[in-house]
Symmetry: C2
Subunit: 338 residues, 2 copies
């Protein structure tokens, strides 16, 4: 949710027009989703995301069934970033009239299977003609606990910055698909899988929320550099990322080598990781790792620290550099293409 | 919601894939929206609708501010058709990067003003790049009372068929705009207004729901012929419409004359009226008219009757003809273009 178009922060400008939100609204514009006090002891958590053919996916690289699944996965990832439990979805499908009905059913089968995978019932929908290309918009509803929602704006100087898994795999997988890179299949397969079949971190998000372990969280859709900057801006802080601690797999390093690029750039700027980025005070680290261990989840990876000030700084053996403004246009231009 | 693409009932085919809905779901795919038992004594009512540039609107005829308002109005109309009270909206805006930020703000101002008009708070959103043209998807949430939701599937043979206002004005207004028809401005103005500035019938919908006056309801977005057929199919009935009783204004008649078309066809096939169509047992007619009168609403117009069997029959002095299969391709091809 709330991704910007280009550089001008469109939704943030629009948000100012919409004015203050009513008391029933626990979370409004500016986070991964919205949340409503729906009655009873639950919060209703809402996200909405659109995938546009030619911008976010290319049907040369992703099947319609995979697209159906991924459309739901990216919304479920926003629910995960709030610590919610996904429950329902509404679909608005913009369908090119020239495409066959069978293809729509292929998309629908992928979406239905993803619904079973994530425990999400598709309860409503709308289809419209979209002659210029396929568009998929999903609204996903989930449930959260009042007072235990993960937000972007709670990071404080001194908090540690964690990610739930390796970065850059999805972007590397897209490069493999787009460029037909020749790569050991053992290395290539998990990259392609990361791109076409992302796994939103619902269990980690719920654990962080339920046990009060995170001060802020976001899902990594735009890439670590951009998403950590969203957290810093919402929290009024800066951050330092230690380059050497960023989790990069052998496959990502190999794709970077083939492209003549820096693996760290691929990891920080690639986007579509759908891991969670979260912050947590250092005194909670013991409880944090213990909780992940008990839940059978991979341990989170400590990659940096929240600071006073603003902006995101990358610290490597070559010194410090600012990465919050976005980096390599090569990856930026193509990110979120499937 | 649940509009079909072309002739093949895409969403209905998709719905079969998504399987049965959980018990918490009061209303799933196949109605104007979905409804959830959200906790407490309220139902959460949800709708989602997409407008695609070049299909549903043409920026040559509608301003971005008008489009912002209309995007919300058409969703609010779906809430009205369920007897709900609109409350919140999520926006997903597909924005062509070539368009200026100022234009997005113009759209946003129209949407924000509509939010105030309809009592709807925009609580979340997402913007994505959409190089092929502007797309607007809104999810609107509202509240309804358990057991008092208007549905499509409750019409029974012998029920009377009503509409809440004149038909064909929006379609006639679009023809005036598209063709630059020369028409007395006193006649043209309300037609253009009906097209660019539709007024969803929230008060009428809530009255019908709260006082148990309707056996089925739908909003007139696709045109009476198509929408009454949706009610008949959902209810397992047929219907007869008496042509002479269909409310047609002088302006609609005049546009039809200029086009060499039948005013009744414009009224039945034009679409985008955003009036409510509802059915009600004849013994409730007294209470129905009294309730509308007391609420200060224009009286509903009786236009036909639900029958056993299937299909929608138009009865005129020239005899009976089936209209459920859709009629004049001229209007059909261009309907929902603004």
């Amino acid at each position: 949710m709330n991704r910007v178009v280009g550089e001008f922060g469109l939704i943030e400008n629009l948000a100012r027009l919409f004015g203050p939100t009513p008391a029933e609204v626990a979370l409004g514009i500016g986070d991964d989703g919205a949340a409503l006090a729906a009655g009873g002891d639950r919060l209703l958590v809402l996200t909405m995301d659109t995938l546009v053919e030619g911008v976010h996916f290319d049907l040369a690289y992703i099947s319609l069934a995979q697209l159906g699944r991924k459309s739901l996965a990216v919304n479920v990832s926003d629910i995960a970033a709030m610590g919610g439990e996904p429950a329902y979805a509404l679909l608005s499908l913009g369908w090119p009239p020239a495409r066959k009905l069978e293809e729509a059913l292929e998309f629908g089968e992928g979406l239905a299977a993803a619904g079973r995978e994530f425990g999400v019932a598709v309860i409503g929908g709308d289809t419209v003609a979209s002659p210029q290309g396929l568009t998929v918009t999903l609204t996903v509803l989930g449930w959260g606990k009042p007072g235990a929602l993960l937000r972007r704006n709670g990071a404080r100087p001194g908090d540690q910055v964690y990610v739930t898994g390796p970065l850059g795999e999805s972007a590397a997988g897209l490069e493999v698909l787009r460029r037909g890179l020749t790569l050991n299949p053992v290395l290539a397969a998990p990259l392609i899988e990361a791109h076409l079949h992302p796994r939103p971190r619902v269990a980690a998000g719920r654990l962080l929320a339920d046990e009060g372990l995170a001060s802020a969280a976001i899902d990594l859709s735009d890439g670590l550099a951009g998403d950590l900057n969203h957290v810093c801006r919402a929290s009024g802080t800066g951050a330092v990322v230690l380059g050497a601690t960023v989790p990069i797999t052998v496959g990502v390093a190999e794709v970077a080598r083939l492209l003549g690029a820096d693996p760290l750039t691929l990891a920080l700027e690639g986007g579509e990781d759908y891991e969670l980025l979260f912050t947590s005070p250092p005194e909670r680290a013991g409880r944090l790792f213990e909780a992940f261990f008990r839940a059978g989840l991979s341990p989170p990876v400590l990659i940096g620290e929240i600071t006073a000030g603003s902006g995101v700084t990358l610290r490597t053996s070559q010194g410090d550099r600012e990465i919050s403004g976005g980096g390599f246009d090569h990856f930026r231009a193509h990110r979120r293409q499937a």
